[in-house]
């Protein structure tokens, strides 16, 4: 089986939000809607302060609470682990939004534009089907499906890889098949210590965060 998953290396992420911008560009999300965003966390008190940049979005859970509560069956989970929304079925009740522990879902009541009036670019990419319904990160499922149809490998070939992963300047984001032991994400998970957000809720996220090397040794000093 295939289980598409994303890995974010918290040691590498610099919080540049390029992934956020790439996602907005690829998916034409309206102002205020960020399917991929990076949370800026500052922890501790002066002078012992640490900062972490945490990419978040839909975690494409194995047991998605959003899917169970959805009264219209618009939210579904594909066999490859990607959680999808059928915009033609969704009634926009936002039950999924309050059921998601990751604040990953948005509902846009009316069209909004970056500079007030609709630009030419926004006019071309406007999709009325996404008004009044729930939306969220799709793992760029159209790119994945199209890439697979062309014999490409998601996570390896950029044409078949989510836009946020392609755009990451620090290679902090990786995408691939978690069930394939030879995939990039499997290798990263094998070599590093990782966690998943809100693991205690039992949702089984498909989004892993790397935070340290597995051997636990201090990294060699560099000059």
């Amino acid at each position: 089986m295939t289980r598409w998953a994303m890995v974010a290396d918290l040691r590498r992420c610099v919080g540049c939000q390029t992934c956020t911008a790439a996602c907005k560009h690829a998916n034409a999300t309206p102002p205020g809607v960020q399917w991929r965003r990076v949370i800026d966390m500052e922890v501790g008190e002066y002078p012992d302060v640490q900062r972490a940049f945490v990419p978040v979005g839909c975690q494409h859970c194995e047991d998605p609470p959003c899917m169970h509560v959805c009264p219209s069956t618009a939210t579904r989970r594909r066999p490859d682990g990607i959680v999808t929304i059928d915009y033609d079925l969704c009634i926009g009740c936002a039950y999924c939004a309050v059921a998601c522990p990751y604040q990953a879902r948005y509902k846009t009541e009316r069209p909004t534009f970056a500079y007030g009036r609709q630009s030419e670019h926004e006019r071309k990419r406007h999709d009325d089907a996404r008004i009044g319904v729930a939306t969220k990160c799709t793992f760029c499922v159209d790119r994945i499906d199209s890439g697979l149809a062309q014999g490409l490998t998601p996570g390896v070939d950029p044409e078949a890889t989510p836009a946020c992963v392609n755009a990451c300047i620090a290679q902090a984001l990786a995408f691939g098949d978690r069930d394939d032991p030879g995939s990039n994400v499997s290798r990263l998970l094998a070599e590093n210590q990782s966690f998943r957000m809100h693991e205690e809720l039992g949702t089984g996220p498909g989004f892993h965060y790397l935070w340290d090397r597995k051997d636990g040794d201090d990294p060699p000093a560099t000059s």
């Binding site: 500052e42 009634i91 948005y106």
Partner: protein, 299 residues
């Protein structure tokens, strides 16, 4: 629209040796459900509670019919509220598509049965007990809807289910006592039943709150505290009035007035609590990291 960008707020670091080790921005109030969603829980809960209590109290004649109509209107108004909130109201029928798992679908399936059976009970009183059972089912579905919202810690707490059921029943009893004295109806048993429901509501609410205290972050707990004031006042004040009317030899007119006041307090307290629970105390989970990234030399 849901709040975008970075949530603001204070940050918390776990105490040494404490579990779990979490870091992250504080949760913030959900923006997906507003007063219209709260209206469904308020109207549906009170309406179902009223139908059930009216049936159990054996309300006579025109009082029975009047209260039945009020109950059905409240349930309908609640459904209308939620219909006004959904983004695609003209495909609302799709709400019925997922009864296998979604409590919202189940509620929507029970609703027409409840309204139909309740309306028929206006003409055929024999149908009132089945209507009361459907009202209980509807009320239970509503409670489970909130409980299934796993993104909101105050809602997903298991005691939310008995909490919403208990408050709905107490509000229904309160509505009954708002009207019954004017008809010269409402016996001692119904009055004691009202008191029992108020005591039950308070006890369930206290247990719900005790379970939330160690779970919620400060801002979320503060919001629950604010919602709890109305809840406590709406339970304890009418409960005191119930005991007063039972214990003291009051003139019938005064006793009737106190009964109406107790009913009004019970209804207002429950409605205010549900409104605040949805629109003010619905703080989400926030984000949390069990580990911070290790960069350079370990700390």
């Amino acid at each position: 629209m849901s709040p975008p960008g970075r949530p603001q707020g204070e940050y918390r670091r776990a105490q040494p040796g404490g579990t779990p080790v979490t870091f992250g921005p504080n949760p913030w109030q959900q923006q997906s459900w507003d007063a219209r969603a709260a209206g469904n829980f308020i109207g549906g809960g009170a309406g179902c509670g009223l139908l059930i209590f009216t049936t159990l109290a054996g309300a006579p004649g025109s009082l029975r019919q009047g209260l039945l109509v009020l109950a059905l209107l409240l349930v309908s108004a609640g459904l209308l509220c939620v219909w006004a909130e959904i983004g695609r109201p003209w495909r609302a029928i799709n709400v019925l598509f997922h009864p296998q798992a979604s409590w919202m679908s189940r509620e929507a399936l029970v609703a027409p049965l409840l309204l139909g059976c309740g309306a028929a009970a206006l003409v055929w009183p024999a149908l009132q007990p089945p209507a009361a059972l459907l009202a209980a089912a509807f009320l239970y579905c509503q409670a489970r809807i909130l409980h299934a919202a796993r993104g909101i810690p105050a809602w997903r707490e298991p005691m939310t289910v008995p909490l919403l059921v208990a408050t709905g029943l107490a509000e229904g009893a309160g509505l009954y006592w708002l009207a019954a004295p004017a008809w010269g109806a409402g016996g001692t048993a119904a009055w004691i039943g009202f008191g029992v429901l108020l005591a039950l509501r308070f006890a369930v609410g206290a247990r719900w709150y005790r379970r939330l205290v160690p779970v919620l972050r400060p801002a979320a707990l503060s919001a629950v505290n604010r919602a709890g004031h109305g809840y406590n006042a709406g339970s304890l004040l009418p409960l005191a009035l119930v005991l007063l009317v039972l214990a003291a030899p009051l003139p019938p007119v005064l006793a009737g007035l106190l009964q109406v006041l107790a009913g009004a307090l019970a209804v207002a307290g429950g409605a205010l609590f549900k409104f605040l629970l949805v629109t003010r105390a619905g703080f989400n989970q926030g984000f949390a990291l069990p580990h911070l990234p290790v960069r350079g030399v370990r700390r």
